[in-house]
Amino acid sequence: MFKKILIANRGEIAIRVAKACKELGISTVGVYSTIDKKSLHLRFMDETVWIGDSPAISSYLNIEAILEAAKKTKAEAIHPGYGFLAENEKFAKACEDAGIIFIGPSSKALSLVGDKVASRNTVKKVDVPIIPGMHMTSTDISLFKKTAEKTGYPVMIKASMGGGGKGMRVVHNEKDLEKSIAISQREALSSFGDDSIYLEKYIEEPRHIEFQVLRDNYGNCVHLFERECSIQRRHQKIIEETPSPALNDELRIEMGEAAKKVIEASDYTTAGTVEFLLDKNKKFYFLEVNARIQVEHPITEMVTGVDLVREQIKIAACEKLLLSQDQIKQNGHAIETRIYAEDPDNNFVPSPGKILFLSEPKGPGIRVDSGIYQGCNIPPHYDPILSKLIVWSENRNMSIVRISENLKEYIILGIKTNIGYLKRIIDSKNFASGDYDTHFIDEHEESLLPKQEKLNIALIAGALNKSLGISKRAKEYDSQYSQMTTPWQEIGKWEICSLS
């Protein structure tokens, strides 16, 4: 097993990985950009190294600086987390050349699956269905036009190195094609340092269902069932659940076996996710392999009891996978909501700034993977994810109730977040029915608007606070901030009074 791992990421995922390392007795090296000097993830590291200026391109995407940090601290392996360099073939190769283990697939497997176009070509060979479209990236607009005419509009433009909806655009007619190509290229370049894009047919009313897979260096391969990820805004997942209400056991087994086939055909090792689209006739198509630990991995951990990050690290250290397929069971139901610094009532505009007050929920079946503390500044340079609220319960209905109740107890004041919006989705009849697809948010835009039914209560509280709060808190700022815990302390110590 490794003695020391460098974690080339920030925020909640860097903390999640650091915790797995500690449990395995591995010491951790954290890295940070200039603006992240006081970020929470650094408090979980045994050593920290500054890797560059605030823009990601100078720091968390800076391969040279990260390798330099690993060499300087004598880290034997690098965990890339998700986003940034997680699926970057050049980075994996540079690690291999430097004699440092990249915790993920080999650069060769990454070139097959990390690149979406290459991966489509691999999967076609093993009889797993793929979406019609281009089989290579291009900058030739006429090729995009030709393919779009052949498959028919609407079409989807995608970044070959992409993930998380970045660089992705739906195009409904030829008129918008050229402009969308340019936007996708720019977004792809700034997010992944690579502007290769391609086009495929846009599947209408699809559900997005993915399968978690683990595979070791000795050919042992298991899947850990599905995650239903159809609730998305701007092609980015915001709520995930498992099991999916759309699958029966037969389809579940069929898709799980297909996922394993994809991973084996690519000679992929460690943890990976095979994404599928499921159309309204319950036909599934291979979408892509996410060659990383994913944001939504905790729901799989909650229902299977398998620590995916731990398994990922063990496999990277050439240990044998001890799990067999028939040992892995889905127990109960888990839901994750992603907490973002954004304004859902104003077109999801990012909302960086200072968190003035924070209280996070606690209790049975609740997991909070968080990268924030009270008083911290959320910088504008990176992804707006703040944390994730994950719940587990015996069945879907109970999980829905549990997450709804605990979103109420997730208090972040000072910046805009999507917490209220997530709660409106969770509380909607359409979500409860389980019958939804990736257009859920566009279709239910109206009913997801804030109702402001408690505005009068807010006004009463505001008036009481002004009238009593100030006199009672003559040293207002001091006493409010005295409530603030530091990142060195546990966060969210409120005992919540029940409303009923």
Binding site: R186, G462, Q480
Partner: protein, 163 residues
């Protein structure tokens, strides 16, 4: 005591009177509430209104009061700030286009003197990896461009001015 709060560009008047153990509150001269069991403890305000108990998290930041009620956040601003608040309206109107958030000015695809139509992209700002196109609020001619491509811009910073 009277308070005027601004919430989403509307002003709300609140009259608060203390009487023994309770408060009488009138909102916008119409709706009356009797408030009892008021407790203010650091960032938590509890009270009973119409026999229902509320526990509300609260943080006062100068003239802004941030509140969280059952998962929904409300930010109230004292009335005196409304004059300066006018320019923070969500609508891009009139003669200028501003960035709705702090971020990186990625591109200004127009030049001074260009004739632009309503809806033409005047600037692209990127924050948290998302690119936002700022459209022209009306037909017009570009008078001034503040800021260069690759520069950091602040929230509400005017980027392009129209004649």
């Amino acid at each position: 005591m009277n308070y005027k709060f601004n919430f989403l560009e509307k002003t709300h008047k609140i009259n608060l009177e203390k009487a023994d153990d309770l408060f009488k509150i009138i909102i916008n001269d119409k709706q009356e509430y009797t408030i009892t069991d008021v407790e203010v403890e650091s960032n938590l305000i509890s009270f009973k209104a119409d026999d229902k108990t509320y526990n509300i998290y609260c943080f006062s930041d100068k003239d802004k009061t941030h509140l969280s009620i059952d998962g929904e956040n409300y930010t109230l601003e004292l009335e005196k700030d409304i004059a300066t608040k006018a320019k923070t309206g969500k609508q891009q109107k009139g003669n200028s286009v501003f960035s709705p958030m702090p971020g990186l000015l990625v591109k200004v695809p127009v030049s001074v003197g260009d004739k632009v139509k309503s809806g033409t992209t005047l600037a692209i700002v990127e924050a948290m990896k998302m690119q936002n196109e700022l459209p022209s609020p009306r037909d017009g001619i570009v008078k001034k461009i503040n800021g260069k491509e690759g520069e950091q811009v602040d929230a509400l910073q005017v980027i392009v001015e129209l004649e």
